[in-house]
């Protein structure tokens, strides 16, 4: 007789082993390492929730204390390698294999452990790509999640930090896995239920509230006039030109500059209501002035941002909020929103080659992908038309086409030099050498050149949709590459021809006065200004309070 219930029985055995350390679903912090050693089996696929924002930091610390003789060869399948403990798991031999998406703060440590041979790398994914694999061939045996509070039945309240959790927990709980949650407190009645208790097996009240990285906060005090100039070009040369209402911004000072000149520069251009109304965007504090001056209609977010809770609660017309009044985020849904329902992505990068391929990998640093490759790509499954999408599609072909498809605008916004005078425009991406060194089958590319429609630098805009040959494309990129080697090796005659065809547009071609590229153009010039704009509802984290 075939046995079709092995998974269920294995789960029951795990739960029985774990129950020795629990009263009902509740586990004491001091028993947590023992609980994890009892639940998890060598070789298990494990998702230790850590994304680019919230962290199951207590569970991470408890797991890192496990005995490698008991727990070893785990296969870590999680979106973020962010905490030092995530690296410790590999250093100690508790974990062996890794499939992930993002490694921001550990971007130097990941290549180090790869080199040491302590990590067997599966692949670096985009967020929804990894989530998709949770439902196909990387289903976790155990998920360690994190919530603001739980009740005794294991129902979880996550508030604005829902993020990856529903996807992780559903994949695990419905395929014979075990779910453990770290919470800040236990409540008799939760403000709202984000995860039903029957998907959660054990709950630990952590000694300290879980850590959240304020990843999307940019201090306006650090925004430069170069960034303001490029931002003015993006607004006038792209947002206004295509009528971009639905959009996503990446992280960084370049896009923060755009957010802060919407109420000033875009106002002067008379663009209110015509651009930047509907957003797939984390709760960027730098968007507060645009919201307060009535530009923004609605925002859906991947995750939360430290200090924005009260502001979002008070602006429920703008943000997605639950019955309890607090914001609700979802990495999965917001990634889908950005992929299928926005007409423009704009973000920065560290290197761009002559074909427009971009990468954030440098010789000693791998940050992973996160969500940018999905935001920054043309969704070939999209079927609904919109004006910007159709216009971009028309520019990409010559003459009428009966079966034309639209194009999402994918814009790279860069300064020609990044920190320490490192040129952003390069002949060859470092990522190619990186792939050779680490024997990767695929060189990591953040956004492929054939998805990029525009590159904006302080020197100008290159419209790659209008390029008809590889040579035109190369010269369009060289023509805005400023004083980098790549820029100085341009064919000046060809660049001038491309300017005549509006493939390249300089600030003067767009009628931008260089004297407007001034910090007085920023609607807020400090974190304190952002607080004032918010009516003191924005409560910035301490590291940004410098007054």
């Amino acid at each position: 007789m075939a046995d079709w219930q092995t998974e269920r029985r294995a789960r029951d055995e795990r739960l029985a082993a774990g129950s020795k350390f629990a009263a009902g679903k509740m586990v004491a912090p001091s028993d947590t390492t023992a609980l994890l050693e009892a639940l998890i089996r060598p070789g298990d696929r494990l998702c230790l929730e850590g994304d680019n924002q919230k962290q199951a930091d207590f569970l991470a610390a408890c797991l890192a204390k496990a005995d490698p003789k008991v727990l070893h060869d785990l296969h870590v399948v999680q979106s973020g390698i962010v905490l030092p403990e995530h690296i410790d798991l590999f250093e100690k031999g508790i974990a062996k294999k890794l499939d992930f998406s993002y490694s921001g703060p550990q971007s130097h440590a990941v290549p180090r452990v790869l080199k040491s041979g302590k990590v067997e790398l599966g692949a670096i994914h985009t967020y929804i790509e990894l989530f998709a694999r949770y439902f196909v061939d990387l289903t976790p045996h155990v998920a360690l999640t994190v919530a603001r509070s739980a009740d005794r039945a294991g129902n979880l309240y996550m508030g604005p930090n829902t993020e990856d959790s529903p996807a992780v927990i559903e994949a695990t709980a419905f395929k014979g896995g075990v779910v453990v949650a770290q919470v800040n407190e236990v409540e008799d009645k939760l403000p709202r239920v984000d995860v039903p208790g029957d998907r959660v097996d054990f709950v630990v009240v952590a000694p300290k509230p879980f850590y959240v990285e304020p990843l999307f906060t940019r201090d306006p005090a650090s925004i430069t006039e170069i960034q303001i100039l490029a931002g003015m070009m993006a607004i006038k040369g792209i947002y206004a030109e295509y009528g971009i209402k639905r959009l996503n911004h990446g992280i960084g000072f370049n896009t923060a500059a755009i957010e802060l000149i919407i109420p000033t520069y875009a106002e002067k251009l008379g663009l209110k209501g015509k651009i930047a109304t509907h957003w797939a965007l984390n709760p960027h504090p730098t968007l507060i002035p645009a919201i307060e001056s009535g530009w923004v209609k609605q925002i859906h977010s991947f995750g939360s941002e430290v200090g924005m809770d009260a502001y979002m609660r008070a602006r429920s017309d703008i943000y997605f909020t639950g019955r309890d009044g607090s914001m609700g985020s979802s990495r999965t849904y917001c990634q889908l929103a950005g992929l299928y329902a926005t007409d423009l992505f704009i973000g920065s990068t560290l290197q761009i080659d002559l074909n427009g391929n971009s990468s954030t990998v440098t010789a000693d640093r791998i940050t992973g992908f996160g969500g940018a490759p999905n935001m920054g790509s043309d969704a070939h499954g999209r079927r609904h038309p919109s004006e910007p999408w159709l216009k971009a599609g028309r520019e990409a072909v010559d003459g009428p086409s009966q079966l034309m498809r639209g194009r999402k605008l994918v814009v790279q916004l860069v300064e020609t030099f990044s920190e320490k005078m490192a040129p952003v425009f390069v002949e060859k991406l470092d990522s190619i050498e990186f792939a050779e060194t680490f024997k990767l089958d695929l060189a990591p590319v953040m956004i492929y050149g054939d998805d990029v429609t525009h590159i904006v630098s302080e020197e100008g805009i290159a419209n790659l949709l209008l390029c008809r040959t590889a040579e035109e494309r190369e010269q369009a990129i060289r023509g805005i590459a400023g004083f980098t080697e790549v820029g100085r090796r341009r064919d000046r005659k060809m660049v001038e021809k491309l300017r005549e065809r509006k493939v390249i547009r300089r600030p003067e071609d767009l009628g931008i006065n260089p004297l407007d590229a001034h910090r007085s153009m920023l609607a807020a010039r400090s974190i304190e200004d952002l607080m004032h704009w918010s009516g003191n509802l924005y409560d910035p984290p301490n590291k940004f309070r410098n007054w």
Binding site: E225, E415, F483, A517
Partner: protein, 104 residues
């Protein structure tokens, strides 16, 4: 150690406007101060740079040449007090300076 660099150019034409002098920017790390004076004959343009970073002569030469090409700042003597600014920042300041000299 400060390095001093001097470049002389002949611009296509005299810069429009009548303003005698303008100053833009600040001397700060990663920034620069630019003094522009309308004291030279018609198409002549001289640029003198004082910079704390040595060995970037070729880059300065390229930045100044590009500026002269695009703005045609005939008649200007330009003095740059550099605080280690990137070439893109230098170029923006020069363009801003000439725009300021054209503003009445």
């Amino acid at each position: 150690m400060m390095e001093t660099l001097k470049f002389s150019h002949t611009a296509r034409r005299r810069l429009s406007g009548t303003k005698a002098q303008a100053i833009i920017g600040v001397v700060a790390s990663g920034n620069l101060e630019v003094l522009l004076e309308r004291v030279l004959p018609e198409a002549a343009c001289e640029v003198e740079i004082t910079t704390p970073l040595t060995g970037y002569g070729e880059t300065w030469k390229a930045v100044v040449a590009e500026f002269v090409e695009r703005s045609s700042p005939g008649g200007l003597r330009i003095s740059i007090n550099d605080g280690g600014a990137r070439p893109d920042t230098v170029f923006l300041r020069l363009i801003q300076g000439s725009a300021l000299m054209e503003t009445e």
